[in-house]
Symmetry: C2
Subunit: 420 residues, 2 copies
Amino acid sequence: MAWAQFTEGRGATALGRDREVAPRSLDRWLASLVQQQVAPAGVGVKLWDGALVPGSPSRTLGDLVVHDRRTLLGLATNPDLCFGQAYTAGGLDVRGPFEPVLEALSRLSAPEPTWRTRLMTAIASPTTLGDARRHVHEHYDLGNDFYAGWLDANMFYTCAYFAQPDQTLEAAQAGKADRVCRKLHLQETDHVVDAGCGWGGFALHAARHVGCRVTAFNVSREQLEFARARARRDGLDHLVSFVDDDYRNITGPCDAFVSLGMLEHVGRRQFDDLARVLARAVRRHGGRGLLHFIGRDVPCPLNAWLRRRIFPGAYAPTLGEVTSDVLAPAGMSVADVENLRLHCARTLAHWSERYEASVGAVRTERGNQFARAWSLYLAGSQAAFASGWLQLYQVVFSPRESDPPWWTRDDALVTPERPA
Amino acid sequence: MAWAQFTEGRGATALGRDREVAPRSLDRWLASLVQQQVAPAGVGVKLWDGALVPGSPSRTLGDLVVHDRRTLLGLATNPDLCFGQAYTAGGLDVRGPFEPVLEALSRLSAPEPTWRTRLMTAIASPTTLGDARRHVHEHYDLGNDFYAGWLDANMFYTCAYFAQPDQTLEAAQAGKADRVCRKLHLQETDHVVDAGCGWGGFALHAARHVGCRVTAFNVSREQLEFARARARRDGLDHLVSFVDDDYRNITGPCDAFVSLGMLEHVGRRQFDDLARVLARAVRRHGGRGLLHFIGRDVPCPLNAWLRRRIFPGAYAPTLGEVTSDVLAPAGMSVADVENLRLHCARTLAHWSERYEASVGAVRTERGNQFARAWSLYLAGSQAAFASGWLQLYQVVFSPRESDPPWWTRDDALVTPERPA
């Protein structure tokens, strides 16, 4: 498999010097603590001398190989943060099938927050407009070429909808965009606001297939440049406007409000802001909206490494937090919720496979640590969705004064109004 | 229309003596307060002298006719409770189309709780097993004949699913039961628990059409007798057991947990109990469940009169309360949510029409106050669902360790697995 190149024979790193030193009894004790934690997942632990730590399952699904003492200490005391940091830095390897081992480890974890995560949630500070722009810049302005290496041709960077599990990623992303249009019953006469539009995949799809007007907001300069160029190339710039602005400055009015994969970046302390935006932007009569977001069953911060290294400021909310703290204060009623977590795992499997196929170029251009971090992020996210640790919700809503967008949702989804 | 017989020419009641007395200036001042409240709904107010109160809209949708001073004082100070009490007692009439006037009044109300409703929520006491049995007895043991007068032949007393708006009630109730079976992907080999099974409509439908085993719980003796007789008559008693017990005593294990219209009666303080039942009763691997309940956008007690006169102990929760306080503590993930509030309004319209067609017999047997209370309850509930004041949620869930019951919900709902 594509990740095997990481799981065997990497060169020693700066932290790897403990390989020269035989593990001591303190090391063996720490290792036995880690082994106790991961054994129920069928995962073994090996130290830098290559020996399996006592207490490992007789037939393991895979092994964690700890290359140095600092990593061992980190895994024993703060695995949430250390696993990602050490894997990125090369202090930790996974021997065996990468995603299945991560999924087995993910299933182990209690979904309830620990005291550490509670504390971190409590002291989280509000996201200012400047923070938001910086956070987006850090993740999304890595270069369009980087993302083009593993996303589909239309650069959708959100969960796809696989009508059949073996669909191509391209078909499933078009299927997702089409499904969102249908759930919102979009019409040619509608004005749509797309909050956090990425590379413009959905906005362009809606303009092309429905013929509606779309005003799409984003604060990533690189994404906006790409999206505007696509709109011109495809002759859709008379329908779609890409606006360089924060969602908090959206005034509306609009017939439909769409946000795919932005809510995770909003942060819980800004839910009031988003509620105010919805309340003023969505037409009270005939308006409707859809939020598509990564969620949780139980309130809990994202994995510490992910939050620090990959998604600064991100928070995956529960369905209850979104309905109670965003939609209800905005005067919105929930019409429909669909959980697509297995579709998200499959989307990530496609991305992971494409990414690993070209990881050599990433390593050459951006270094080994960057390449390993993104390997872990993609495979670890796949594992989290597959194990039920993360959920993917699409929530359709409409103002309380309005009726839902359809009499039954089946009418919207099943009737072939237009080719997908 | 059927309710016209109530809105004109009723005889004077015990409270009606103020009709003989001309309204005084204090009466006129109170009436102007009430008129201010209801004018935005296009509703006028008339006092017992037959004169329209100043400030009423020039063309009203309908009028509230206040027959006595006590009613006037109640409407001015505690309309939530007084409207129902006074209408039932005959101190208040609605002149004009009954349900549309109630719907217009319903749209007026802020969905947020007032200080009065907050206080009542705070001091609500827990429901004991004895309370629960008494509450159910008060509402459901009014005699099967009474309910048979206006429910469908299979005695479904929950929201139907109208695939097309003009379906018959019978077809829509069968459609609902079929939809629930499909959402849960019920199979012949499944053991289903039905918590709060009413007259057994769903349990018998599932046994008949899927061939699965069903254990159905209820604490209403009259409903259970009816359901058992039906099971014997239809030769389904080898598949369905009707158990006279509280949902809190359900132990499982089961493959699918279904509850249609029970959660409203559980009460918020018992959500922990229900979470424990789900956690122990639903199989962790391959198990799934569905809760069908009347809900709200914002936490708020039911209308005071409804809670006192019709549904003692009832509470319609928000989607957030159910996901956060029932499903998450039970270790369940939400797979799907459908809001069927307009289907519930239509169901109530059918019930109301049938009820009013035979209300003469109800009045003869149970008295005028009983007959009027049920007229108001049915029409008022229809208005509340039509206006978005109440919601009707179907929530499909599965244990976090399990996958959802289907790859896409469309597979379950659209593929014609069996005739409806």
